[in-house]
Symmetry: C2
Subunit: 346 residues, 2 copies
């Protein structure tokens, strides 16, 4: 099959990889329909985080082509969403809701395990990993929204849940990438009363507003902190959602969080130092990390299918599989919020 | 009046300070009955944190002697518990439950404001700060338990609440000081199923068990982490409560927290670096800081008054006011878990 291959920083190409086959009775083979590029893929592409040479990508939806003997609840021909990690659903961590630490789990697109950016994927632990999508004849717009459940929408939701966003809250979202925009949509869905989006980019500001942002702060750093504090009468926000992962964005999130609140963090931390003493004395904590997407998908799926939310609007650029390198380049060069990669048909 | 005065590291003496008087209509004057020494006072005593010369101490119960014209709900002759901070109860932070950040609030015993370790205290914002104790003729044992609500018991409770301790949880408490022991009692009160106390000291181990610890780990550092992981089948605990504040204790708490859990932190951080990337990828967060004692006192008070809990057992040493310096020394030299200071009678 043809699939994206990571050859090192700055080098993504489409090459031949072995056709996936069932190797364990709990496997399924999924023919990929739509895939996309994650912000975390860019850390590898830019050489800022290590990644093995080989398969890459971890967000995809597709059609089940084959299942192992022990796969129940999913059948050939099903349209399925794959979370970005596979998990057994039964180990103590999965039972605690921390599928990200499943003792038998692992990552797609880690060099060895197939990534979503290819024609097909062998999905380990398929029955407890894949989520079948009810219905048929879904529109292209719907398919794009379903794809976001693989990672980005669940990650935005995780930022909001980690910070404890609840009805009536005042929320600020640091980061206007696809995750930040999804965090705005997630906060809106959870009933936040006021959502302050930090963004300097007019197109992203527009989408932020469409997703539920009530205020936009275009400043950065100390000026952004002042602006958010001014908008909140000096109190700070009930929930600051950190969706970037740099030292500056993290510092901003901690500074605008009101005393007693929890910062929700989903931006992968790079060169971050937490101002521990300051946050301690203000009772500002943090929670977050990689989203337990498998836990969140069923709940959010209902709202996607009935049209309550349309998270697929984060895709503003698309390529086919042959041009996947351009899908990366467009995001690195900030020509795209998030790149869709069309691989197959439903 | 006579009161403890901090003259610099290692030097506490009893000296004359001005008799407190009503200076604002929201003030009350409280004649101190019982006071005590806090673990945080020791940071100042040892010269490891700065403290202004002057009044010190912030934990006390006493009898209301006088009230300003705007103090309602509290009357002369009432036995009252004072939380270690005063607060107005009405500012946005107080309304959010973060009385520790009250815009009009402040600390007792900060060099200027009277501390509890003295014959009397002017309590600002008295109506929203002091909690009157119902009933009369309380036993000495009961008075000691009431005194713990001023800080240490509420701080242990805050560790547990910050970590989200709930019925059936497996909890580990790092630190066998009075706060750690109170955190064990608080976790037991909140319904934790299993409570692992980290302690090397036989007397403290005994009190830990009396307060509800089901397991004791006597190791420190990496060996303690291994022991807790072994006790939990390699999973880690649902709630790790950090009640010390050193780099080592913090590292232990993060290492034994299971993926997806929140470390409850109440030990004032000293030279702490959070292992941010490791905790991020395991979805281990933290919350905590100074306890909003004023919020917690009414709820815990009921369980103290009906004898459900007896947190006053943390006091294993006592002096009168004249010997307050010895009360400090006993704790610094680890001759005492926590020193009671008898000041007046009920």
């Amino acid at each position: 099959m043809r699939a994206a291959v990571f050859n090192g920083p700055g080098s993504i190409e489409v090459a031949e990889r072995p056709d996936p086959i069932i190797t364990a009775p709990t496997d399924a083979i999924v023919r990929v329909v739509l895939a996309c590029v994650c912000g975390s893929d860019l850390w590898y592409y830019r050489g800022e985080s290590p990644h093995a040479v080989g398969s890459i990508g971890h967000e995809f939806i597709g059609i089940v082509e084959d299942i192992g003997a022990d796969v129940h609840g999913i059948g050939t021909g099903d349209l399925v969403i794959s979370p970005f990690l596979y998990s057994d659903g039964s180990c103590p961590h999965c039972q605690n809701g921390a599928t990200i630490a499943c003792v038998a789990g692992g990552s797609f697109g880690n060099g060895e395990i197939d990534g979503g950016q290819g024609e097909a994927v062998r999905v380990p632990l398929a029955a407890s990993t894949l989520v079948p999508v009810p219905g048929s004849g879904h529109s292209d717009e719907m398919l794009k929204s379903l794809l976001t459940l693989s990672d980005v929408m669940c990650t935005g939701h995780h930022a909001a849940k980690s910070a404890g966003v609840t009805k009536g809250d005042v929320v600020a979202v640091v980061g206007d990438g696809a995750v930040g925009l999804s965090a705005i949509l997630a906060s809106h869905r959870l009933g936040a009363d006021r959502i302050i989006g930090l963004s300097r980019n007019p197109a992203r500001q527009d989408l932020a507003r469409a997703f539920g942002a009530t205020d936009i702060v275009a400043q950065r750093g100390a000026a952004a902190e002042e602006a958010v504090l001014e908008l909140t009468n000096g109190i700070g926000v009930d929930a600051a959602l950190e969706c970037v992962g740099t030292g500056q964005s993290m510092a901003t999130a901690f500074a605008i969080a009101r005393p007693g609140s929890t910062v929700g963090i989903v931006g992968v931390p790079h060169d971050v130092e937490v101002p521990f003493n300051d946050t301690f004395f203000r009772n500002v904590g943090w929670r977050g990390g990689p989203a337990p997407a498998r836990i969140y998908i069923p709940e959010i799926l209902d709202d996607v299918l009935d049209g309550t939310i349309n998270p697929g609007r984060v895709f503003d650029y698309e390529t086919d599989l042959d041009d996947v390198a351009d899908a990366y380049a467009a995001m690195v060069e900030r020509r795209a919020i998030k790149s869709l990669v069309r691989v197959g048909s439903v």
